[in-house]
C-alpha cells in the first residue's frame, strides 16, 4: 500500500462526494464551490476572496489563507457572510503543491433552518450525509410529541371530569357535598320520609389551624372524620360539606331524644384533645338537627336551612352544644 499518494478527482466527483465544499486557490480566491453550498448562498461565489465569503467564528478568526491552513484538521465553526444566521461546521485541509486549500462543511445544527429556508432537496445531500435522517427523526419526533400531548390533554380532561363527579372528600375519605346532596334528595323522595339531619360545625378549629398550622388542621379534620364515622350506623351518611362543616344523615330516625343524645355524645367525644406533633389540639363542635317527620313534604333545601337555624342557635348560646330545630328558634336568634 502506498501511503499518502496524491489522487486526482474530477470536479464532478468532488461535487458528489462533498456537495458543500469550497476550494480556495493560493491567491485566496475561491476556485470551486459545491452545488449545495452554492444553493444555500444563492449566488456564484467563484472568483471572490475567501474571507469576503466566509466568516470563521471558532477556534479563532483567521484573515489569511496561511492562518486558516494552520488550523488543518481542527473542527471549525463558520458561516457564509451572506447567511450569518446559518452556523456550519467545517474542516480545512491544505492541497498539495501549494494549490490552496479545501474546506468541507456540514449544516451542523442549522440543518432544519437551512433546509426550510433554502428549499434543499434529497438530491442536495450525499447519501453518506445523515442530515436527511435527522430531518426524518425531527419530523417523526414532532408527530410523536403531538400524539403524546393529545393523550395528556385527554387524560387531563378525564381527570377533571372524574374529580367533578367524585363523591368522596379527598382529605377525610368522608362523602362530599355532592354525595350528601344526592343522598338527601333520595331520602326526601320516598313516600314517607323518616330520617334525621344534623349540621355540625367545628368550634375553635380556626385557632388550631392558625396556631399549629395547616398540617395540624388536617390532622384534626381526619380525627374528627374518624369519630363521626365510628358514631354512625352502617346505613347512615356523614359528609364533609365545607372546611370544618359536616352533615350527618340518620336513616329511619324519628326520635328527637335520640338525636339529642347523639349530638351530645359527638360533641363530648370531639372535645377530647388529640395530639399532633406533641401538641394537644383542642376543639369542640356546635350542631343543629332536624327530623323529616316534622314536615308534610320535606325538601332538602328546607331541611338544610332549618338545621342551619338550629346550628346558629347552638352557636349563639355559647357553642359546644346541640340544638334540635323548632319554630320558636326563628328570627329572634338569627344573627342579623
Amino acid at each position: 500500500m502506498i501511503q499518502d499518494r496524491v489522487i486526482g478527482l474530477s470536479g464532478t466527483a468532488l461535487d458528489q462526494l462533498m456537495p458543500m465544499h469550497l476550494w480556495v486557490g493560493p491567491s485566496g480566491l475561491i476556485n470551486r464551490v459545491g452545488p449545495t453550498l452554492t444553493r444555500i448562498a444563492a449566488r456564484d461565489l467563484r472568483g471572490q476572496p475567501l474571507f469576503d465569503v466566509i466568516d470563521l467564528h471558532r477556534p479563532r478568526s483567521a484573515r489569511t489563507l496561511e492562518a486558516l491552513l494552520s488550523l488543518q484538521g481542527a473542527r471549525l465553526t463558520l458561516c457564509l457572510r451572506c447567511r450569518p444566521d446559518l452556523q456550519f461546521r467545517g474542516i480545512v485541509v491544505g492541497l498539495p503543491a501549494g494549490v490552496g486549500g479545501l474546506i468541507q462543511m456540514s449544516l451542523g445544527l442549522s440543518f432544519a433552518k437551512a433546509v426550510d429556508d433554502c428549499g434543499l432537496t434529497l438530491k442536495d445531500f450525499s447519501p453518506c450525509d445523515q442530515t436527511v435522517d435527522l430531518l426524518y427523526l425531527r419530523e417523526a419526533n414532532a408527530a410523536i410529541a403531538r400524539e403524546s400531548r393529545k393523550l395528556t390533554e385527554r387524560l387531563q380532561r378525564a381527570r377533571q371530569a372524574a374529580e367533578q363527579q367524585a363523591l368522596t372528600d379527598t382529605l377525610t375519605g368522608l362523602a362530599n357535598r355532592r354525595a350528601m346532596d344526592a343522598a338527601l334528595l333520595a331520602l326526601t323522595e320516598v313516600p314517607v320520609p323518616r330520617f334525621g339531619l344534623m349540621h355540625l360545625d367545628l368550634d375553635f378549629f380556626k385557632e388550631v389551624n392558625d396556631s399549629l398550622g395547616h398540617a395540624a388542621g388536617d390532622h384534626v379534620l381526619t380525627h374528627v372524620a374518624d369519630i363521626l364515622r365510628s358514631e354512625i350506623r352502617s346505613g347512615d351518611i356523614v359528609a364533609r360539606v365545607g372546611g370544618d362543616e359536616f352533615v350527618l344523615l340518620f336513616r329511619d330516625c324519628d326520635d328527637p331524644d335520640l338525636l339529642e343524645a347523639i349530638g351530645a355524645r359527638l360533641i363530648s367525644r370531639l372535645e377530647e384533645p388529640t395530639i399532633f406533633d406533641g401538641q394537644p389540639c383542642r376543639i369542640s363542635a356546635s350542631a343543629g338537627s332536624v327530623l323529616a317527620s316534622r314536615y308534610d313534604h320535606p325538601t332538602p333545601d328546607r331541611m338544610l336551612n332549618d338545621a342551619d337555624v338550629a346550628l346558629y342557635a347552638s352557636k349563639n348560646r355559647g357553642r359546644a352544644q346541640h340544638t334540635l330545630y323548632s319554630e320558636d328558634l326563628l328570627a329572634p336568634l338569627r344573627p342579623n
Binding site: L122, R138, I144
Partner: protein
C-alpha cells in the same frame, strides 16, 4: 401491539366509513367504546379482533380491507405526516423502493417500541422488485401492497403490484416498475412541516 398501529386502523375505519361503522366494529369486537390511544400498548389479539370485526361489518375480505388500509395510510390528508416520512426514503420511486430496507430501522429510531415488520427488498431484475414482509399478524403483505400503490401514485410512477404467499408465514409483494416518471406525482419538500 403499539397503540399507533391500532390507532391507524381506527383512523382508517372512521375516516373512510364513519363513526357509526367504527362503533359497530368496536361493539362486535367486544371492545370498550372510545377506541385506542396512540401512545399506549395493547394486547396483540385486540388488533386481530378489530380486523376480523371490520371485515364482517363491511362485508370485505381481510386482504381487500388491509390493502385499503395501506392505501389510506399514505394517501389520506389526515395521514399526511406518514406520507411525508415515507418520502424521506428517496427522491424517486426507485430510490424509495431501495430504502424500504431501512424503513423498520428508521421507525424504531423514532419509536423504539413500535412493532415494525421485518422487511427485505430485493432488486430482482432491471425493473422488478420483491418485498418480503414478516409480521406478528398475518396480512401485513396486503397493507404494504396498498401502501406501495399509494406511494407509486405519490411519486408519479407507473408500477404493477402482486401479492404472493412466501414460506413460513412470509408475505411478498412483487413490484414491476414500468415507468418512473409516468405522471407528475405529488409535491414534496424536505423542509416545512414540523409543528
Amino acid at each position: 401491539m403499539h397503540g399507533l398501529v391500532n390507532r391507524a386502523l381506527q383512523g382508517f375505519l372512521i375516516d373512510t366509513y364513519g363513526e357509526v361503522t367504527w362503533d359497530e366494529v368496536l361493539s362486535q369486537a367486544a371492545l370498550p367504546a372510545g377506541g385506542f390511544e396512540s401512545m399506549l400498548h395493547y394486547e396483540d389479539r385486540l388488533t386481530g379482533e378489530v380486523i376480523l370485526a371490520a371485515s364482517a361489518v363491511l362485508h370485505k375480505d381481510r386482504c381487500t380491507l388491509l390493502e385499503d388500509l395501506g392505501t389510506y395510510l399514505l394517501s389520506h390528508p389526515n395521514q399526511e405526516g406518514l406520507r411525508r416520512l415515507m418520502r424521506f426514503g428517496g427522491d424517486t420511486f426507485f430510490d424509495f423502493l431501495q430504502s424500504l430496507d431501512d424503513l423498520s430501522g428508521r421507525a424504531r429510531l423514532a419509536l423504539p417500541d413500535l412493532d415494525m415488520p421485518d422487511l427485505t427488498i430485493q432488486h430482482d431484475s432491471h425493473n422488478r422488485f420483491v418485498l418480503s414482509v414478516r409480521w406478528g399478524l398475518p396480512g401485513a403483505g396486503s397493507v404494504f401492497l396498498g401502501a406501495l400503490r399509494a406511494m407509486a401514485d405519490d411519486y408519479g410512477a407507473l408500477a404493477f403490484f402482486e401479492a404472493e404467499e412466501g414460506e413460513d408465514g412470509e408475505e411478498r409483494v412483487v413490484i414491476d416498475l414500468v415507468d418512473q416518471s409516468f405522471a407528475s406525482g405529488r409535491s414534496f419538500t424536505l423542509g416545512g412541516r414540523v409543528a
